[in-house]
Symmetry: C2
Subunit: 187 residues, 2 copies
DNA sequence: TGTTTTACGATGCGTTCGCATTGCAAAAAC
DNA sequence: GTTTTTGCAATGCGAACGCATCGTAAAACA
C-alpha cells in the first residue's frame, strides 16, 4: 500500500476546507467538488475519507465545536468578573480565530432550526455554558437567580455575535455592550 | 387573453409558498420545483411571476419583513413599559404567526452573514428598531444611555429568538427572561 | 519476491437544478 | 368576428450535484 497517512489529520484538513467554504459561501455551497477544490485535493480523496456529504458536515460541526471549546479553555483569570468578561468576549467574532469560526457557528445554528439532529450537541454545549456562567455570576455576586442571568447573558452574546457578523454592530461597540450588560447583571 | 389575474396577489401566493419551504426545510431547499409543488402550481407559473430564484427569495424576504412589521404595528399600549414588553415578546416565536415567520427570519439572518446584499434592508430595520426601543426606554426611565440599552435589548431578543427556535429555551422561559431583562434595564 | 492491502485518481451514472424556449387556449380589444 | 395580447403549461438543455465503480501505484506483509 502507499505510505501510511495520518487518517485523522487528513480528515481534519478536509474538515478545515469545509469550514472555510461555509464561512465564505454558506452551508449550501458545501459540495464534494467545492470542498475538494478548497482543500486542493481530488474529489476521490474527499470521498475516501467521508462516505457522504452529511458525514462531512457533521465532522466539520464537531471540529469547530472543539475549536471554540479550546479557545474558551485557553482563557484564564483569577478574578471571576474578568474571567466572565473574557469568556463572553471570546464568544464574539473579535479575534481573528473567532472571526473565522463564528460564521460557521452561525450557519450551523440556523441549520439547527430546520434540522433537529444538530440540536442535540448544541443543547449540550449551551447547558454547559449556562452552568459555567451561573457559577461565575454567583462567584461575583451571590444570591439572585444566577441561572436566569446566565441564560439571558447567553442569549445576549448569541444575538450580539450575529449582529457583529452581519455588520450591524462594530467589534468595539460589541465590547462596550458586553461591559454594559455585565455591569447590569453583576451589581 | 385569459382572464385578468391579480398580479400582486399571485406573487404573494408564491412568496407564501417560498416562506413555507424555508420554514420547513431551510433556504437551500428553495427551488423552482419545490416552490411550485408547495404552492400547488406549475413551474411555468412560478417562472411567469419571477424571472429568477434570487428575485423570488428577495420577494419572500420583503414579504416576511412586511408581515413582521405589520404584527409589530398592531401592538398598542398607553403604558410605555407594557408597550415595550409587548413589542419584545412579539419579536419572539410565541404566537402562531410569529412561530411561522421566525424560522424564515432566522434563515435570512444567517444568510446575511455570507450575502451582504441582505444586510442593507436588515440594517435599516435594525436602526428603526433601536431608535424606537431607545425612545420607549427613555419614556420609562429618562437618562442613562438609551441607545446602548436598546442595542443590548435587541441583541438579547435576537439571540433569544434563535434559542427558542432551536428548542433550547421554552416559550414560557423566554417570556420570563424578557421580563427579567426588562426589569434590569428599566430600573 | 510475490501477494495483499491501502490510498487514492478518474470516470461514469442518474438526478436535480435554473433557465430558455415553444406552444396554445382564452379573453380582451377592436 | 377577427386580431391581439396575456397567462400560463410543457419541454428541453447544459451544468452541477451525490455517489458508485474501476483502475492503479505503492508500501506493508508473507
Amino acid at each position: 500500500m502507499p505510505k501510511q497517512v495520518d487518517h485523522d489529520e487528513r480528515r481534519r484538513q478536509i474538515g478545515d476546507a469545509v469550514c472555510r467554504v461555509i464561512a465564505a459561501r454558506g452551508l449550501n455551497a458545501v459540495s464534494l467538488r467545492h470542498v475538494a477544490a478548497e482543500a486542493g485535493v481530488s474529489m476521490g480523496r474527499v470521498q475516501h475519507y467521508f462516505a457522504t456529504v452529511d458525514e462531512m458536515l457533521m465532522f466539520a460541526f464537531d471540529l469547530i465545536s472543539e475549536r471554540v471549546a479550546a479557545r474558551l479553555g485557553a482563557v484564564h483569570s483569577d478574578d471571576p468578573a474578568k474571567y466572565l468578561r473574557a469568556i463572553l468576549l471570546e464568544l464574539l467574532p473579535l479575534s481573528p480565530d473567532a472571526r473565522a469560526e463564528a460564521p460557521v457557528l452561525a450557519a450551523f445554528l440556523a441549520q439547527a432550526v430546520v434540522e433537529p439532529r444538530l440540536g442535540v450537541p448544541l443543547h449540550e454545549g449551551n447547558e454547559q455554558m449556562v452552568a459555567w456562567l451561573a457559577g461565575m455570576i454567583t462567584a461575583v455576586r451571590p444570591g439572585g437567580d444566577p441561572k436566569r442571568d446566565a441564560m439571558a447573558l447567553l442569549a445576549f452574546v448569541d444575538g450580539l455575535m450575529l449582529q457583529v457578523l452581519i455588520g450591524q454592530v462594530t467589534p468595539e461597540a460589541a465590547e462596550d455592550l458586553v461591559d454594559h450588560q455585565l455591569s447590569r447583571v453583576l451589581t
